[in-house]
Structures are given as C-alpha cells and as structure tokens.
C-alpha cells in the first residue's frame, strides 16, 4: 500500500480546528444547550442536582443513578413543551400555520415502521427525532461473501455504507406529525 498523502489529512484536521478556533461551533452550541436545559434543570432541582449540573460532565453522578435520570428526562420534555406554549401566548397576534411543540408521526419504510417526533417553533421545523427506526441486515442477506466472514458469530451487520439514501420514506411520518401540529 502506498504511503498516505498527508496533505489531505492536514487539511481535514485544520478544518476542524478552524471551526473550534472561531468559537462559532462550541460557544453557540453550548449556549443553546444551556437555554434548552435551564427549565428542565429547575424542574428537577428538588432531586438535589445543581441547576447547571445537566451540562457538566459528571451530571449523571450528581443525579445519582438510573432512576432519577429517567425522571429528569420526563420532566425535561414536559417543561420544554410548557415553556414553548408560554412563548406563543405572549405573541397571540401572529397567525401561525403550526403550533409550537413536539408532535409525533408514523410511517412505513421498506424495512418496517418508523416513528418520528417533529419539533416546531415559529412554523419552522427545528428538529426531527427518529424514535423508532431499524435497519436490519442479517448475515443471510450477504451476497458472495467469503466463507470465513459468514462463519463469524456476530449475526447482524447493523451499519452499512452506501449511497446516501433519501428521507422520502420519512415524508409520510413527518407529514402526519405536521397534520397534528396544524392550527385550526
């Protein structure tokens, strides 16, 4: 094998460094994070966690194990929805197509059913979380594999590299979520 051309490796690592050096990525993402998490942490402050602890590396320790962290998550989502309703209430004069908040939708793709949670704010889709999604390729699906690979124990290949597939299969699921979000 030829020695790898280092020029491109250098270009890639300096590209990443440039983004962090500009402060654009890290600081703003951090700010978003804090803004989003603040109501959530206040809601669980009674469990003993420091209000800002959710963004610190050892947050899980201060929350003390699995159970409180689940509670934490559930509270977080509720408060988020509540806070977005308050924002909406402040500007009632704006006629929006969609309600703010997170709405669920279901659809089918070629590998089974899919569920999405679409988050809307000011009529813009801010996030599409895929809640139920499986891409399963079993070893029996493999065509023309050398014997030694087939014999390996691990039965499933869950990650596949391929030409970028489009999200058209998700369009139905996103649409059903949008229908629910529509203002009357």
């Amino acid at each position: 094998m030829a020695k790898m051309d280092k020029k491109w490796v250098v270009l890639c690592s300096t590209a990443i460094a440039a983004v962090y050096a500009s402060g654009y990525f890290s600081t703003e993402a951090q700010a978003n994070k804090i803004a989003l998490q603040q109501p959530a942490s206040m809601a669980v402050a009674s469990t003993g966690g420091n209000p800002t602890s959710t963004v610190l590396p050892n947050a899980s320790q201060t929350n003390g194990g699995k159970h409180p962290s689940h509670v934490n998550q559930a509270h977080g989502t509720q408060t988020k929805t509540k806070s977005s309703t308050t924002v909406k209430a402040k500007k009632p004069q704006v006629k929006r197509i969609y309600k703010d908040g997170t709405f669920n939708g279901m659809g089918q793709n070629r590998r089974g059913s899919i569920a999405v949670a679409v988050t809307l704010k000011n009529d813009k889709i801010t996030n599409v979380q895929i809640s139920n999604f499986a891409m399963h390729y079993s070893e029996s699906d493999v065509v023309g594999l050398p014997g030694e690979v087939v014999q390996k124990q691990n039965a499933q290949v869950t990650n596949v590299s391929g030409a970028t597939y489009s999200t058209q299969a998700f369009a139905d699921a996103v649409q059903t979520a949008l229908n629910q979000a529509k203002n009357a």
């Binding site: 094998m1 030829a2 020695k3 790898m4 051309d5 491109w8 490796v9 270009l11 890639c12 690592s13 590209a15 990443i16 440039a18 983004v19 962090y20 050096a21 500009s22 654009y24 990525f25 703003e28 993402a29 978003n32 994070k33 959710t54 963004v55 050892n58 947050a59 899980s60 929350n63 699995k66 962290s69 934490n72 070629r110 590998r111 996030n127 599409v128 979380q129 895929i130 891409m135 390729y137 699906d141 493999v142 065509v143 023309g144 594999l145 690979v149 691990n154 290949v157 869950t158 990650n159 596949v160 590299s161 391929g162 030409a163 970028t164 597939y165 489009s166 999200t167 998700f170 996103v174």
Partner: protein, 293 residues
Amino acid sequence: MRKARLYMDTVVDIQVVDKNHSDEAEAKIDRAFEAFRKVEQACSRFDPDSELMKACRSIQKPVQISALLFEPLKFALEIAKLTDGEFDPAIGKTMEKQGFNRRYLTGDKMESPSAASATFRDILLDEQAGTVYFKKPLVMDLGAVAKGFAIDLAANELKDFDGFVINAGGDLFVRGFDRDGRPWKIGIQHPEKKDQIIDVIELSNQAICTSGSYERRNIHVPGMHHIINPKTGISPNDWVSSSVIAPFAMMADAFSTAAFLLGKEKGKKLIENLGLQGLFITSGLQKIKVGGF
C-alpha cells in the same frame, strides 16, 4: 445509547457504547447532532437562508463566511484543482436543472441565477480575511464534502467515548470497538438488491463513505443520477458504487465522489496515489479493490 435524527435529507444515526445510560452521553450525542444542524445551515444549497445561498447572491465582492462554510469549500476547491475540474463545487446550477432542487422537509424548489460557464476557478478564497469572492453568478454544491465535514465535527464532540458510530445515511465514522469489544463491522450496500450487502469490512478509527448511482437518480433521464461530470454534463457510469476508507469522513466523502467521477482508470489511480483504500463496483457487479480494502 442510540439516537437518530433527520439532517441533510438523510438519517443521521449515532450509536455510543456506554455501559450506564447516562445523561452525559445523551448531552454529548445532542451536541454531535448540532454539528450536522450547523453545517447544514451553513452549506445547504436547498435553503435560501443558508450561508452558502446568501453568499452566492453577492457577485464580484468579497463576502465574509464562517469556518463552517469556508473550510469545506476550501477542501472542495483543493480537490477540484487536483482533478482539474472533474470534481467541481460550482456544479450547483447543473444539479438544480437536473431536478436535484427540492428541499426535503418542505418540498420547496430552488431556482437560482447562474452563469452557464461558471467553474471552480470563479470561486476565490481569501484565507486571511475569511472571505469568498465569486467572479460570476453561480451556485455552489458542497454535497460531496459537507456531510463528511459534519461527521468529522460530530466525531470530535464524541471523542471521550471509547466506541461510537456516526452513520449519516451510509457515510460513517467509527471509533474504537463495538459492544463486544470487536472492530465495528460495516456492510457495503449491494447496488441492486436493497436489502442486501455485497461485502463486509471491519473498521476502527476510520471513516468510510460510499458514492453510488443507485439511490438518487434522475427519474426523467435514463442513466442520469446525482453525480454529474461538470465538463460533459453527463453522469459517469463506469462504477455503480465507489467506497473509500480514510482517516477523516470529509476525505472519504470527497474522494469516493471524485473516484466515481473519474471512472475506471483515473478513479482507481487517484485512490492508489493517495494511499487510501477503495472498493469499486462496476455495472456488471464486479468488485475492484484498491489499497488492501
């Protein structure tokens, strides 16, 4: 822990090996997803409000752009130089005309002004000032670098984890080992049989990206798909699939596309000369491996 979201018209699936499902892991995965959102906001050709589209509306004057756009553009221009313009980020208008103009979440169609003769030589970067200068009206397309770059930034956000996979619609970066302590096993999509894979590799601390003609086809013109030679305006069809392994996803992403564009002789040679590993599949489903893939 595993989470998936939609970005860049595909599914971004992040899997992290962590024994105790912690909030910390979840927060880090969310930050990794932020990388995709930010790069998409900066580099999308389908969003009139993206930094890329805003910049493209300013002709013959320097426009300040963020590193999130500057860096992947710089990388794309380097590859354009290397391939003498067979890979060209100025191809956006050609793509638009071929029907690759739909914004995936809304269905809105793009229609942008562009000079017919624009090439990468009409895009000038000023490293010191952080600006881009367009000599002519043109539409940039960073489809072969932006996703890779987002994967690399996301991987950096997850660097504290010993094992993770970032899978952005078939372009992947993997770190460390899977749940069973083995190198991650990655299938290569069969170009014709949707539910099958044509090969399997084991990978660790590397990226693998695949460019293929079998997913985003032009439904109106037979033989045309989303990879188009800027000089001829025609889709190359030497390969149906081109996979490249590299230490960075932006590299794997760009060179898998470049090798697809360059075709049988030159594409294979490119990957050999770079010292990368590649797997090419011909339309007759013959596998050609380079660099010990």
